[in-house]
């Protein structure tokens, strides 16, 4: 019983903190139709920026905000490469991801930074609230952050600007026809998404007590897995339910991973399992169409 509850609470915590990254991936891939691969880099960027600032004695909440700002800048570069230089989205993302590897090494002056015995948003929050730290407390902190993000996005995506952003991913030509600069909505959306991913990286680093140059590898696939699981399990309609489904998808994904690890799967095999999971999820609609002899469009190469 103890094992079960510890698995569950740990998965809830991880689902919440990785849920920010999943939400970012959801905004780029699903809302904007912009397959942004810079996510792997901006996740580590968020971790690196906040870790360095915390070591320098900056308040961890301020450091977390700085991480978000750094992520937004990374997204800005990716989206500018795509909209202004007309570099295909996939390639623009890869270029930024590769470039960020060097940037992150520079920021951390090395491959990793330990945050052991440093102040983090978790220790600070426990000071402010006078509650001891622990998994349940971490869930509380991450949950409050998730609520803030959820309400902010649920509001923003239903505003006039947010609606234009969503419509851009659906029918760019129509949106331009109604007087919206779709370059701007893409830039806004991709920046916002990378800000969320950096927030995720920052919180994860503070939770685990270190930032590492390789911690962002596979973050896109993980985010996609969460999005697909959330969509498949809950088939949500409307902005609010979609956002909840994505975070719930992240939780289910982490739960599967945690259970698999408990059952003795080697941690190194994790990424392969995740990749296979996403491939299967993508293959299902294809096979279903094939069996119904429906027309299947050729795969896009960009």
């Amino acid at each position: 019983m103890d094992v079960l509850s510890s698995i569950l609470s740990f998965s809830i915590y991880e689902g919440l903190v990785f849920g920010f990254a999943a939400t970012g991936v959801y905004i780029t891939f699903r809302v904007l139709g912009f397959p942004d691969l810079s996510v792997d880099g901006s996740f580590t960027l968020g971790a690196a920026v906040s870790a360095v600032l915390i070591i320098a004695g900056i308040n961890p909440f301020v450091a977390t905000l700085a991480a978000i700002a750094a992520g937004i800048s990374a997204g800005l570069v990716t989206s500018l490469l795509n909209t202004k230089l007309r570099i295909p989205a996939l390639l623009a993302g890869i270029l930024v991801m590769v470039g960020l590897w060097s940037v992150n090494l520079r920021i951390m002056s090395g491959a990793n930074i330990s945050l052991l015995r440093e102040a983090t948003i978790f220790t600070k929050a426990s000071e402010y609230l006078g509650i001891g730290t622990g998994t349940h407390f971490s869930i509380l902190v991450a949950g409050i952050l998730a609520l803030i993000v959820f309400f902010a996005l649920n509001w923003f995506l239903r505003t006039e600007i947010g609606l234009a952003l969503r419509a851009t991913g659906d029918n760019e030509q129509m949106v331009r026809g109604f007087g919206v600069n779709t370059d701007m909505t893409l830039i806004l959306g991709v920046s916002l998404a990378n800000g969320l991913v950096a927030l995720s990286g920052s919180v994860v680093a503070q939770g685990q007590g270190f930032a590492d140059i390789g911690m962002g590898i596979g973050m896109i696939v993980m985010g996609l897995a969460s999005v697909i699981i959330g969509e498949t399990l809950f088939q949500p309609k409307g902005v609010a339910r979609l956002l909840i489904a994505v975070i719930a998808g992240a939780f289910v994904y982490r739960l599967v991973i945690v259970v698999a690890l408990r059952l003795g799967m080697a941690p190194g095999d994790l990424k392969l399992v995740t990749a296979v999971l996403v491939i299967m999820a993508l293959a299902v609609p294809f096979i279903r169409k094939k069996m119904r002899s429906e027309w299947i469009p050729p795969a896009t190469r960009w």
Binding site: R158, L163, G179, V180, N181
Partner: protein
């Protein structure tokens, strides 16, 4: 100044694949004056330059240097497409282009309501706006006003095109561009959408340019008829001149003006 021009095209040319073997002269030094409340039908065979003309007006691409586009006395030649949306509403041939499939009717209408205006951080839709959307959709008689939460992708082609028409005219553009907007619909639905067009254009007194492939349709609708050929305007008939016009008159006019044989069977055959 009783006949103030709404739109002026001055010396508009457009070449595609310039300097290459397959260079195409899509528009060749076109001059056109459009007056308020004109309802112009544009006819011409494939490659006559009809759609290029609309794309130039809408700002999809600029004309060759030297050409000028003026709306309400304002030179908009260098204005980008999204900035011109303030003046121009457009319905495309493909209903999928004018509407967003994965969004609800309400969200589509909310996008259309703010055509050409600054978008804010206020909610895109509210009860006041929903009421406005219902009132705009009701005259269609398609019951869309009671399905505001339906995804547009679930509507039929005709319903989507009717919605696209309402969306293009929702915030009263100076100029409405219709690019063969009933060509892909079955005859019944096409007639319904055409009647709707007539109603919207008349009620709101919107200046309109409608491209059609169908001579009969071009004669029956509108207050002015333009025939295009090889990138130029060949025939321009006003309301009186087109009042008793027949398809054979039109072919005769074409022969006289161009010195060419009328060789596009598709235009003749489609006089249903």
């Amino acid at each position: 100044m009783e006949n103030k021009k709404l739109l002026e095209l001055k010396g508009i040319s457009k070449y595609f694949s310039r300097g290459e073997i397959e260079e195409i002269k899509a528009l060749d030094n076109v001059y056109l004056d459009v007056y308020p409340e004109d309802y112009i039908t544009v006819i011409g065979s494939n490659g006559a330059g009809k759609t290029t003309l609309l794309n130039i007006i809408a700002g999809v691409f600029p004309p060759e240097p030297g050409g000028k586009i003026i709306i309400n006395g304002k030179d908009i030649t260098r204005l980008s497409e999204y900035r011109r949306a303030y003046y121009v509403g457009r319905v495309y041939q493909d209903p999928r282009v004018g509407t967003a499939a994965k969004m609800t009717i309400e969200e589509n209408m909310a996008m259309a309501l703010l055509r050409g205006q600054k978008r804010s951080l206020g909610f895109a839709s509210n009860s006041h706006r929903r009421e406005l959307f219902r009132n705009a959709l009701e005259p269609l008689g398609l019951n869309l006003e009671n399905r505001l939460n339906a995804l547009v992708g679930t509507l039929s082609g005709g319903q989507r095109q009717a919605l696209a028409l309402v969306m293009a005219t929702l915030s009263k553009p100076s100029l409405l561009l219709l690019d063969e907007h009933v060509a892909t619909l079955d005859p019944n639905t096409a007639q319904i959408v055409l009647d709707l067009t007539e109603m919207v254009v008349k009620n709101d007194k919107i200046t309109t340019i409608m491209i059609t492939h169908n001579m009969e349709m071009a004669i029956r609708h509108g207050s002015r008829l333009i025939m295009m050929h090889k990138g130029g305007i060949l025939v321009d008939l006003n309301r009186e001149q087109k009042a008793n016009l027949t398809v054979s008159d039109l072919i005769e006019a074409f022969k006289r003006a161009s010195g060419d044989e009328f060789d596009d069977d598709s235009v003749l055959l489609r006089s249903d």
